[in-house]
Symmetry: C2
Subunit: 380 residues, 2 copies
C-alpha cells in the first residue's frame, strides 16, 4: 500500500443556510481544491458522505461544479458517514487505483434532529422496542454509569462543554461562538441527566472536504503535506452484552487499538485529539477509550486541564461537536480538516493553534443498529 | 493489485415479502456463505447496497446473523447501488486489505416505484424542472430517437420483453414467471411509447450477495472460482449536451471501453451479457453501447435471434429486470450471481444454461442527477 497525504482541505462555517446542501458541499470542495492547488479536472474519483440524502449525493454536488464522468461512490455510516468517505478515498489512493481523490461530507439537517431521522424504523429494532436507543438516553446512561463507578461529577462533564465552547469561540468556522461559564452550562435546561442543553451538540448544516494524493506526489501540490498514518473503521462486535444496546465504548477501543498499531504510535505521542463529543459525557468516556488516561480518570483529566490547548493532550480545539456543530455527514471530515490545519500550524487564530503539533487523531462514531467508528491518525 | 475471485453467490427469489428487508438480505448472505463453504466469522468486511434505507443497512443485516465488529460500508448509487457495493468489495480484496469480503444488495420497494423515490427532490434538479427525468420518459425518448434514426420498430422492442420473460419463466428466482407472446406484450397497457406495461420492469423486494476472496486462496473454498476480470464505475460526463438530461448511453459506452481494456477482452469474446433492461428500449440501446453490434443494428440483433440462448451473444438469460425483477439495491448483485452460475454451468434448469460459458459481462446503470454505471466482466 502506498502512503497517502492530505494535500488540501476545505470547510464551510457550520450553521444554518438557505442554500441547498449541494451548494454547501461545492463550496467546501472548491476551497479544498484551491488549498491543494489542484484543478477540478484532475480529480479522479469522488467519495461523498451524506446521511439524510445519501443517494447520488456526490453526483448532485458535482453538478454544481461540472461533471466529468469520474467514479462517484456515495457512502453512509450514521455519524461516521463523512469519515467513512475519507477512509474509502484513502483506500483508493493507497491501493494505487487513483492519484487525486476528493472525499466530501455534507448535511442539511433543518429542524430535523437525530431522533427524527431514526424514528421511522425504530419499531423494528431492539433499541426501538426497549426505548433506549435515543442518543441522549445512550449518553446519559453511559455518563451515569461513569459517575457510579468512578465518582465522576456533573461539574466535570460540564467542564467539557465550557472548554469546547471556549475554543469554538475562537474558531471562525464554528456554529456557536459563545463563551460559557460553568454556571451557564449547569443552569441550562436539563435534557437527559447529567447532560444539560449546552452539553448536547446542536443540529445544523455543514460541509467539509479533503483532497488526497499519494505521498510520493504530494509535494507537487503543497509544501505541507499531511500523512494519513492510520485509517480504521470498526463496528460494534456485540460480544459481551445480552441486549443489543448501542455501546459507545467498545467500537472506539477496538478502533484505537487498530489505529495505533497501523500508525506505529501510542496515545502518548498525540499532540491533538479531535474526538466525537456528541454529548459532554461522551468526551470523558472517549478520553479513556482512546487511552489518553487510565480507566476512570477522565474526570481528573478535565479537572487538571490536561485536555486544554496548553495541557498534556489538547482535545477538541476545533470547538468539537458541542460548539463547532454536528451536521452529520460533514462532521467526520471536519475533524480531519481541523487536524490538518493544526499540523500545518494554520489554525485560524493564535488562540487556537496547538504548539508544535506533529501527530493528531480524529475520531468519529455513529451508534444505533451496530454502528460504526472511524479513527484517522495524521502526522506531519 | 491481486486477482479477485467470486467464491460464493446467493440470492432470494425476487418478489414481494412480508419479512423485513434485513431478513431477506440475511438469507442471501447465508446462501452465499454456504455456497462458498465459508463460516460467517471468517468474513472480514461487508459492503452493503440499499437505496431506500441505505444508512446502517449493512449493520442491520448483520444484526440478523451476529455482529463481529468488522468494517461495514453502506453505499448507494441509484440503480447501480448493488454493483457499486460489489466494486468496493472487489477493491478491498484486490488491494490486499482483506481476504474474505461479502457484498450484499437488498431492497424492499413495497408500493413505491422509482417515481416515488425520486419525486421529493425533483423540484431542485434540472430534470425535475423540465419534467423529463422520470424513468419511463427517459427510455421512451431514447427509444423513439432510435426508431427515428435507425428505423427500429415497436415490434423489435417488444421482442426483448418476449425473450426475457421466456428465460425468466425457467428461472426459479424470477419475480414474474410467465410466458408472453409478442401480441401479449404489444397489447398490454401503453406506459410511455413505445414501452408498454410488459416492456417496463416491475418493482419488488429482493436480495443478493457475493463472497469474494483473492484468487490465490479461492480453491480453498471452491472448485469453480470465477475471476473478476474487470470492475468499472463511471458517471455521466455531461460533455456534449446543453441541458443536463439523463443520458442512458454515454456512461455505458465509457464503462464498456474501460472494462474491456481492464479485462483484455472484447465484445466478441463474451458468452453471456446480463445488461440493465429496465425498459425494453434500454436493452436495444445497450446492445450497441456494449459493442455487441454496430450502431443502429440493435433491432436486427433481436430479430435474428442473436441474443437468444443459442444465438451469437445470449443476453439476459436470467430473465433480466423485465422478468427477474428490479429491487433496486439487489439488482446489480443479482446480475453478478447469474453470471457466476452460468460460468460454473450451474444455471438452475437446462433450458437456461448457456453452453460452454467462459466470459460473462454484468452491466448496471442508474440515471438521474449524474447517474452511475458499473460493468463487471467475469471469467472462469
Amino acid at each position: 500500500m502506498r502512503e497517502v497525504a492530505v494535500i488540501g482541505v476545505g470547510m464551510i462555517r457550520f450553521g444554518r443556510y438557505d442554500k441547498s446542501v449541494w451548494e454547501l458541499a461545492r463550496d467546501a470542495i472548491l476551497e479544498a481544491l484551491q488549498d491543494a492547488g489542484v484543478e477540478f479536472k484532475k480529480v479522479e474519483a469522488l467519495y461523498s458522505g451524506n446521511m439524510y440524502r445519501t443517494n447520488l449525493s456526490g453526483q448532485q454536488i458535482l453538478q454544481q461544479i461540472g461533471l466529468t464522468g469520474i467514479p462517484v461512490v456515495n457512502v453512509v455510516n450514521a455519524c461516521a458517514t463523512g469519515s467513512t468517505a475519507v477512509r474509502e478515498a484513502y483506500l483508493a489512493v493507497a491501493m494505487g487505483l487513483h492519484d487525486i481523490v476528493v472525499a466530501v461530507g455534507s448535511e442539511q439537517m433543518g429542524k430535523m434532529g437525530l431522533l427524527g431521522a431514526d424514528a421511522a424504523r425504530r419499531e423494528e429494532s431492539v433499541e426501538g422496542i426497549l426505548g433506549s436507543g435515543l442518543m441522549p438516553a445512550i449518553f446519559s446512561t453511559a455518563g451515569v454509569e461513569h459517575m457510579r463507578k468512578y465518582g465522576t461529577t456533573i461539574e466535570q462533564f460540564a467542564k467539557v462543554s465550557v472548554k469546547n465552547h471556549k475554543y469554538g469561540y475562537y474558531n471562525p468556522r464554528s456554529q456557536y461562538r459563545v463563551l460559557l461559564s460553568l454556571e451557564d452550562v449547569l443552569n441550562s435546561r436539563m435534557i437527559s441527566y447529567p447532560n444539560t442543553l449546552y452539553m448536547c451538540c446542536p443540529t445544523g448544516d455543514g460541509a467539509a472536504a479533503v483532497v488526497l494524493a499519494p505521498m510520493s506526489r504530494a509535494r507537487e501540490f503543497t509544501s505541507k503535506p499531511v500523512k494519513i498514518a492510520a485509517s480504521v473503521l470498526t463496528t460494534d462486535p456485540y460480544t459481551d452484552r445480552v441486549f443489543a444496546l448501542p455501546d459507545p465504548n467498545t467500537m472506539t477501543r477496538n478502533a484505537a487499538k487498530l489505529a495505533y498499531e497501523q500508525a506505529g504510535v501510542g496515545p502518548e505521542d498525540l499532540d491533538l485529539v479531535e474526538l466525537h463529543d456528541c454529548f459532554a459525557t461522551a468526551e470523558i468516556l472517549h478520553y479513556e477509550n482512546l487511552g489518553l488516561c487510565p480507566e476512570g480518570e477522565g474526570g481528573r483529566l478535565i479537572d487538571e486541564g490536561e485536555t486544554e490547548i496548553d495541557g498534556r493532550i489538547p482535545v477538541n480545539i476545533s470547538g468539537g461537536l458541542l460548539s463547532l456543530g454536528h451536521p452529520i455527514g460533514a462532521t467526520g471530515v471536519s475533524k480531519i480538516c481541523e487536524c490538518v490545519w493544526q499540523l500545518r500550524g494554520e489554525a485560524q487564530t493564535p488562540d487556537r493553534q496547538v504548539p508544535d503539533c506533529k501527530v493528531a487523531l480524529a475520531h468519529t462514531i455513529g451508534l444505533a443498529s451496530g454502528g460504526a467508528c472511524t479513527i484517522h491518525i495524521l502526522v506531519r
